[in-house]
Amino acid sequence: MKAAKKSDVKCFHCGTVCSDQVHYDEKLFCCQGCKVVYSIFKDNGLDDYYTFESTPGNRMDTSDDDRFLFLENKEIAKSLLNFSDGTKSKVIFSIPEIHCTSCIWLLENIAKICPGVIHSEVNFIKKQATITFFEQELTLRQLALTLANVGYAPMITSESSDKKEEKPKWGKIQIQLGIAGFCFGNVMLLSFPEYLGFAEEDPFFITLFSWLNMFLSIPVLIFSAKDYLISAYKAVTKKFVSIDIPIALGILTLFIRSSYEVISGTGAGFFDSFTGLIFFLLIGKWFQSKTYESLSFERDYKSYFPLAVSRWNGAIQEIIAINEIEKGDKIRIRNNEIIPADCRLISESANVDYSFVTGENHPVSIKKNDFIYAGGKLLGIPIDLEVEKKVDQSYLTSLWEGQQVNTSRGTKHLLDRVSKYFTITILLISLIASVYWYITSPQMVWTVISAVLIVACPCALALSVPFTYGSIIRSLGRMGYYLKSADVVEKFFNISDIIFDKTGTLTFTGKSKIEFEGDPLTDEEINSVFEMTSASVHPYSQKIASSFKGKKQNSELISSFSEIPGSGIKAVIHGMEYRLGTESFVLNKPESTQQPVSAQVFFSVNYFLRGKFLIGSSIRSGLNRLMVHLEKQGLKLALLSGDNESDKEKMTALFPEGTTLKFGMKPDQKLEMIANLQAKGKQVIMIGDGLNDAPSLLRADIGISVVDNASVFSPASDVIIDGSKLYLFSSIFKFINSAKIVVGLSIIISFLYNIVGIWWAVNGQLTPVFAAILMPLSSITVVVFTTLSIKLLGKLYKLEK
């Protein structure tokens, strides 16, 4: 990187454009934090970190040293460990910051910075690091702090302590597929002489081969095809028809008839078709089971709460696990910590950010003895609270618990509906055929019935849906839309309403847009504003301070500083008096009776008004067009915001005319709205974020959570979208809906093959060779057709953006 223009200079560590440069070791850094990390790496011989990728580092949040205090609690630390034998311990940390090759290298060499670490291994896809360390030399908290200090803070939630090593379901289907593939290949090979008509020439080998085939097919039936048989059995006992019933029927008939032929010496059987069928079916299953392992779709409220909290025990603080909190406990909450239970404030005042719970954009100030609901995040100096309700009885938690019943929304799959008629038709055909053959030549009856059941086995049909949906999931994943499972695709087909949340969904969270209205500020003024706001704990001050990227604090500049609650802050720097706050405060006039307008901070120098800072939420780009497109597609839109009406004008402009816009909605009111719509037979998509939308996301037919960083937090939902890609939603919607046609066509294709096959079967002319060709051919046609058409459609809609 050549130091050309000032604005072009990028930080050597993290790649952020440097506004204020820190020089060190002939390199440029955007802030002290990045420099420190660089020097740690350099001193420990880890500067290779910068050779794999340029600017691989993460900007750190240099908040405070109280982080991970809860890891001091032995019980909690123990619950996080995966393994411990008294000297060595193993822990798996989720580290969302893992993003490139350098990250892997650094984390696997972390032992150099962090003595006591024995071994560390990164799983890049899951964004996890497995670290083994000596307990005597290193505590879990020290380890977490070291990682956080170099920019890889582990994400520790109750989730990480609850599920330890979950059994991988993934491996099972791979083994099933492996065995089916192995047997399929060998059976095909051994069936070749039969295809080529060597049966008469050398009957000994043909018999040997067919017996071998039978033995090779047994593991396929018992192990690989197990799930189909079990699921079909369950469907029969529960008296409903699923696609698995005709499949299981076909599988069993194939195996039994083939075994009969081999044992009785009347033929070679259809073992090649049998193993091939299972193999293809499993490929479909495997293709469909695409999952995003680094994402979690199942988070509940517990993940949002801290694992532990410090409680006053007399005059000393002790750290206790969150579920040990009792009513009447006095607890201490620090800056940026989440309040875990419904409490009463003991300290004088506090600023609480409820954006997560209510969607309210601006922090709420709370006075002594006021009630604080769980879920708020404290901004500013530490406070003491008295617990009013236990964690699991708080307002938010109860909302969630009441909703659990609704999580499993039983919708019938498209394929199961089709297969109902399919199964009935097949049974009818075999009945008619058997009656016909019973009259003409009775010895053919069983041959014909089994042939019909074999050839009608809906392999291609069963593949059409997995491959279509699987391809869709993959295409969407590339565009930043992550679906929980293939079943979600189908739910998109009948959507009539889309409900949006505002804060964090249509607007950015946290990152407010700070604008200065007035004559441009001089460098000196900018520095002064930065110094003042950095010294203050008021949320607006912190927002303004954080808008000046890369500044370093130099508090010695300020000669006198004072903060007047409710009015603003004033400071003397270089003999000038700077004031920030309400209009009357900065101009030193008596406080007007008018309620000060929120989200505005005035700035004056020596009582001369310089202008004001506007703290606004910024709306994501491209949403205007999105709303127009969605409306054109006949979807009914609505906005349910937990925030106050301050953004009403912007929202009215954004949405089409006549859209329902509701503000100040509580989580349970949102929920009710959705339930009402559903009661009218509508199918609803809820697009939201945060804990306040969580119950509605669960309730809606499709819950979509919007995140700005896919690896960070999102509530339980069906789809996770990268916020910067929200504007693509209308194209995505069309894309998914056009998949309906693809599924329809592929079902028709597989039916056509079935009709041909059944014609031969009914005529009593189904030979093993014919079956062995027809089945793979139909499957492959369907697979190729669906994947290609989805690819094509994807291209078509991507062009549109």
Binding site: E121, G171, L190, L216
Partner: protein, 60 residues
């Protein structure tokens, strides 16, 4: 021609060996992470980390 019987049995046996190897590979988690190892092998190991990375403790 009877020699073919032996050949076939041997070939099935060998193939079964590979199948078992595959099952072992899946069970021991070699397919769990298909990306990281491809990156890891490109790192230059210095002597110290080379010796430690060998005794990976696998506990189920």
């Amino acid at each position: 021609m009877k020699v073919i019987v032996i050949l076939i049995l041997v070939s099935v046996l060998i193939a079964t060996g590979f199948l078992l190897a595959f099952i072992w590979a899946v069970k021991s988690g070699q397919f769990d992470d298909t990306y990281t190892p491809s990156v890891r092998m490109l790192f230059e190991n210095d002597k110290k980390s080379a010796s430690t990375s060998l005794d990976v403790d696998k506990n189920k």
